[in-house]
Structure formats: C-alpha cells, structure tokens
Amino acid sequence: MSYNWNWQVFLQPSATGEETYLAWLLEGLKWTVTLSLTAWIIALIVGSIIGVLRTVPNRWLGLVAAIYVEVFRNIPLLVQLFIWYFVLPEVLPGQMGHNFKQMNPLAQQFLSAMVCLGLFTAARVAEQVRAGINSLPRGQKSAGLAMGFTLTQVYRHVLLPMAYRIIVPPLTSEFLNIFKNSAVATTIGLIELSRQAQQLVDFTAQPYEAFIAVTLLYVMINVTVMYLMRRVEKTVQVPGFVGGK
C-alpha cells in the first residue's frame, strides 16, 4: 500500500478561488470556535436558570426544570439538531418559519446549530449547577434567610457564588464537550472543522493530510481550553474546599 504524502497541499490555491486550502481550514476553525462559544453562553445562562429552578422550594418549577433536563438528555444531539433545522421552520406559526427559510443558508445553519447545542448543553450545565447548590451545607441557606435575606438574595449572594466556584472542574469538561459536539453541525452543512475536513478530502484527494490537520486542530482547542480553565479554577478556588488551599 503506497500513499503519496503531500503536506504542501495546504499552500496550494483552492479549487474555488485564490485562497489556499489552509484558508479553508482556518475558516472551519473560526466557525467551530464561534459556534461553540456562542452556544456555551446560551448553555451557561439557560443551564443556570434550570439548575436553580431544580433546587427552589416550589414543586411545579422543579418539575418543569426536571422535564427540561430529561427531554434534552434523552434525545440524541443529532436528532435534536435535525428537529431544530428541519422541523421547527415548518411548524412555526405564521410568518416566522417562512422568514427563517428566507435567510441565507449559512445563517440558518449557524442559528439552528447554536440554539441546539446551547440548549442541549444547558441540560448538562443545569445538573452541575444543581449538584453544586445541593453540595453546600443546608446551614448556609438557613443562615442567609435568618439574616433577613429574601430567597432571591440568598441565591444571589450566598449560594450561587459558592456553587459556581465548586463546579468549575465539571463545567470544564462540559466546555470541552461543546467543542467536540459542535462537529455534529457538519450534518446540516455548516462549514466548521469536520465539514472542511470532508471538503478537503473531496477536493484535494489527500485524505490523511486533511484529517490529521483537523484532528490536530481539535487537540489544540482541547489543550487551550484545559489550560485556560485550569487558570480560572486556580483563581476562583475556595480555600478549605476540595482542591482549595
């Protein structure tokens, strides 16, 4: 079996214009990072709300939050993505679905993938937030209430500041997951890294170079995120708690 290695392929002009195949890779990297970061913001906000709702003393709010988590955790990400991308525009009432389908294809793909990935990850973030809040001694909440804080103030000033600092390590692994899961967007045609890998294979017929380059870029993202999150972890760690000094 002989294979002609040709790493110079990335410097060759691409089939569609003056830019090089390297530019294609960087374009893919840009979309992977943009998609993951925007989805992560959604995941943090929605996940925090759902996670808090699961711990408040109200059965109905708790039930709603629990249903959210179960639904988003028990349906495959790919199915969720297809539902956002293919099903929702059809069943939206009035002009909304029509307007969505009028947008440029890249915007449609990006918005669907971002909302899908964000809400999917939110269910996982919610479980971590809930675990973080529940891991605090009950006395903290009681002490806050006894001091005359309202329940909202107790969450805002006592419980959440502690909970977030405790759950940094599990959140790091969810943050890493969101970059990996963003590859699913390739199935609806978003030109992120995995899509570009497949495109490079089709256009250059140098599959190994393309796949190795993309794999290394994913590893690089992973290493960068882990490094940054470790620094965050060090800065916010609570003295006397697990991992703290």
């Binding site: 790919l78 199915v79 297809f82 699913v184 390739t186 995995s194």
Partner: protein, 224 residues
Amino acid sequence: MYEFDWTSIPGAIPLLLKGMLITLEVTLTAIIVGIVSGTLLAVARLGSNRVLAFLATTYVNLFRSVPLVMVILWFYLIVPQGLKAIFGQNIGDIRLTSALVAFALFEAAYYSEIIRAGIQSVTKGQVGAGLALGLTPGQTMRLIVLPQAFRNMLPLLLTQGIILFQDTSLVYVIGLSDFFGTSYKVGDRDGRLVELLLFAGAVYFVICFSVSRIVKRLQARFSQ
C-alpha cells in the same frame, strides 16, 4: 399552519425495525468491546509498567479530545484501506464494519476512565490483604479488586451505554442506515421529514428515559 400526516410511519415499521437492529448491533458491540479493552487500558494506566501506562494514557487522551464525528470519518477512511490490503478489492459494503470498529475503539477510551475511577475506589487494604494471602498481583486484581470495582461502577457503565446508544445516530455521517438514518430516509422519500424526525426523537426518548429509570433504581438498591 403545518398539517401533520403520520400515515407513512406504519408502513415503514419493518424498515425502521431493521434500522433499530443496526443501532443495537453497534451499541452492544461497542459496550462489550469497550468494557473489555477499557479494563485493559485502565489496568495498564494504573500498573507499574511505565511504557504501557504512557501508551494507554496517550490513547485515552487522544480519543477523548477528538469529536466522535471525526473518529467515525477516520475509521471510514482507514478500515476500507486496511481490508483491501488484506482481502483484495472485493470487500463489499464496509460502512457497518468501520462503524463497529470506530465505536468500539472510541468507547474503550471512555469506559477506561470510568473503570479506572472504579478501580481506584477500592480501598488499598484490599490489595494489601490479597497480596498478604499469597495471591499474585494479577490474581489480586482479577479476583479481589475488579469484582468490587465493577459492582461500584455498574450504574456509570450503564449510563455510558445510554449515551452510546444515542451517539450511534452519528453513523449518519457515513450514510449507514441505523434507526435514525432509516427514519431520515423514509421521511425524505415520502416528503414527511417532520413527522419521521419527531417520531425518531420520541422513540429515542422513550427508550433512553426508561433505561435511565431502571439504572436509577439499580443504583438505589446497590447503595443500600
């Protein structure tokens, strides 16, 4: 307003069941091969041989930092070439084979992390006691540590199985007709994509939700 029409589903049930069989085949193969090789990887990582420990760590970290989609595509590239080198040009449809290999090797990395934690959850005194009784280190691992470790991590192993069951839908990227792929194709064929996608989502939900309830009950019984 969209008019739902579910009539194309009943006729497609035999096809969908065939797809579900493929989904289950990939899932079960990956669970079995994943747990067996995951155990070997975990033991290698915790063992005293530095080279083996390094190789196992690299394997696990590499697979855990690459998206599953890329892993599936990688194996769809490598497996056919490997098979061609061995069996010549006539190898037929290798999508299922590549998917089986990709999932088995990918899951091994994830299972090994669960199993490693499980092994570490067994107290050191157990190992000491085993060695003091005259068992070899291998026997201590096999007869004392692993049985207890597996008991501790059974819920986690099953939960990983549920995640894996959902992840098998990603074989869509190489065009393999598992349950999801079949649903998509039927929906596309009949112009009923909306209904078929919602149906697929509902089926996955019912299966995964029921199994996770069972796992939870098992967990409660074990922790008594």
